[in-house]
């Protein structure tokens, strides 16, 4: 066993190595640390840098509602005492020998590996995206530098065609591009130039969103806010200099400013590690236990995991409970808990101080009603309280979610009470 690190009073100390110090890696490490005494399990978190970004905050940066430095904190500071943090890029994982190789030449063995290295923007997979016009007329708000550059461009923008384009799924937080449209409508109204701005949402999907009930509701909101919707547009090229999106089936959409959500893939080391990931670099796991299909001592959480639900912080949070329990069961030689149900819960900012909330899982699409029960927050309906919920969440993120505390009233499994199941037509 590559991970056996020491023998103390006859007991073997096991080592859990967690690749990635973002949402999933941090909350898993902290929950595991609480579960196991330090003389039983050693926990090591590895990341290539020490910047933990509160990613939901990126949406607000372009509109001047948040600044980059407010949403980034040191990764190591979010980890509990007794969790080791290593800041080093990962070269590859050797599944055969249970070892992780780092770019500085060092190697670490593990008894259990948790892949929590999220997803990566692969801008260069789309022709022209990073060519002429990139960061001048063509932007993304999916990373801190891009969001800051877009803020400057929006401030200088005084009218014309703005397109918001999702190249293809999967992406982190699939509602964020829609939220961007809603906030852009609000932002240009505030500046008194909304009448001079044409907003268009361009998606590869056949509707505003993936699931029918929410898709209709969100398409209705786009229409109310005078945002044009172009569907089934598979972007083949972004022509920044010419100001055009060109689809593979040769349709064109002109723009003066393009906000593009690039293709996503898994971390680069995944592709260098035979057997670790799929063709996009995500790690195939059982969708209920989060255990790798390739190796029993390997798990994945959050955006890095190839499970059929949203890549979102709420998903990672709900997965955390099941993942930690299953690492414990694996180490104890017990059968795993197959209880992760695909639960996701997202506040969707709709502008003018309002938001709506969606709550769903593998089997139940987002429905109207209330969360978590009939007296809770309104679902799929704009309200001021949902907007306040979204704002309040940032503090809960740093102080409850990352430390691995349970959020009051919010369990891992999706609640069915309060949902209007008759809304499915």
């Amino acid at each position: 066993m590559g991970g056996v690190v020491a023998v103390q009073d006859g007991a073997v100390i096991k080592r859990v190595v967690i690749l990635g110090g973002g949402t999933g890696g941090t909350l898993s490490a902290n929950r595991l640390r609480r579960l196991f005494p330090v003389d039983e399990v050693e926990i090591v978190v590895v990341d290539q840098n020490d910047d933990h970004v509160y990613q939901p905050g990126l949406l607000f940066v372009p509109f001047g509602l948040a600044h980059g430095d407010e949403i980034i904190r040191p990764r190591h500071r979010q980890l509990h005492k007794g969790v080791e943090f290593r800041e080093v890029p990962i070269e590859r994982v050797d599944l055969e020998s249970d070892r992780v190789h780092f770019e500085d030449g060092t190697v670490i063995g593990y008894d259990v590996l948790v892949v929590a290295s999220g997803s990566r923007l692969v801008e260069d997979e789309t022709e022209g995206l990073t060519g002429p016009g990139w960061k001048e007329k063509v932007f993304t708000f999916y990373d801190p530098a891009g969001a800051a550059a877009l803020h400057d461009a929006l401030e200088a923008f005084d009218g014309g065609r703005v397109v918001v384009n999702v190249v293809d799924l999967p992406i982190k937080c699939p509602v964020a591009p829609l939220e961007f449209c809603f906030l852009a409508d609000w932002y240009f109204h505030q500046r008194g130039i909304r009448h001079r701005v044409q907003l268009t949402y361009v998606t590869p999907l056949d509707g505003a969103f993936t699931k029918p009930v929410a898709s209709r509701r969100l398409a209705g909101l786009l229409e109310e806010k005078d945002v044009a919707l172009v569907t089934e547009f598979n972007t083949g090229e972004v022509d920044g200099a010419g100001g055009r999106l060109v689809s593979y089936d040769e349709r064109e959409i002109g723009f003066d400013l393009a906000v593009v959500v690039p293709l996503h893939g898994g971390a680069t080391y995944v592709a260098r590690s035979p057997g670790l990931g799929d063709e996009l670099g995500f790690v195939a796991v059982d969708k209920h236990t989060l255990q790798s299909v390739a190796r029993p001592n390997m798990f994945a959480i959050g955006d890095a995991a190839g499970v059929p639900t949203s890549k979102a912080g709420s998903v990672t949070h709900f997965e955390g409970e099941v993942l930690v329990e299953n690492v414990r069961r694996f180490l104890d030689g017990q059968p795993l808990d197959a209880s992760y149900d695909g639960h996701a819960n997202c506040f969707v900012e709709t502008g003018f101080g309002k938001a709506l909330l969606i709550d769903f899982n593998y089997d139940t699409e987002p429905l109207p009603g209330h969360f978590p029960s009939s007296v809770g927050l309104p679902l799929l309906k704009e309200s001021r309280i949902n907007h306040l919920g979204k704002l309040m969440f940032q503090s809960l993120y740093w102080h409850s979610l990352l430390p691995g505390r349970d959020l009051p009233g919010v369990g891992s499994a999706m609640p069915t009470r309060g949902k209007d199941t008759a809304a499915v037509r």
Partner: protein, 105 residues
């Protein structure tokens, strides 16, 4: 449940015409389904994609997306659109007799 008849055999399909049961499909049905999708002749590259769709479905329980097809089928995304102009993932799935590929969330 709706049905369709290809090459003289009746099969069950969904509302959009995707096969419910891939085992009901035979190669002889493919040219007929293709013509209904506006593809007059299935060339060798068409068959390469159709066979790839079926093997992916057999392994993973769902057809691949266009992006995954472009990375793994040996045919680039651009060529895929030339072969199946109305959308490679959906049209090739229909011709290959597998259910509609599940979109990601």
């Amino acid at each position: 449940m709706p049905t369709a008849t290809y090459a003289g055999t009746t099969v069950t399909v969904d509302d959009e015409g995707f096969f419910e049961d891939p085992s009901q499909w035979t190669e002889a049905m493919a040219p007929e389904i293709a013509r209904a999708e506006g593809i007059d002749e299935l060339t060798e590259p068409h068959w390469q994609v159709i066979k790839f769709m079926r093997s992916e479905y057999a392994q993973k329980g769902t057809g691949p997306t266009v992006r995954v097809l472009g990375k793994t089928s040996g045919v680039s995304v651009k060529e895929l659109y030339q072969l199946f102009p109305k959308g490679p993932a959906k049209v090739a799935a229909k011709i290959a007799g597998i259910p509609k590929p599940r979109g990601c969330i």
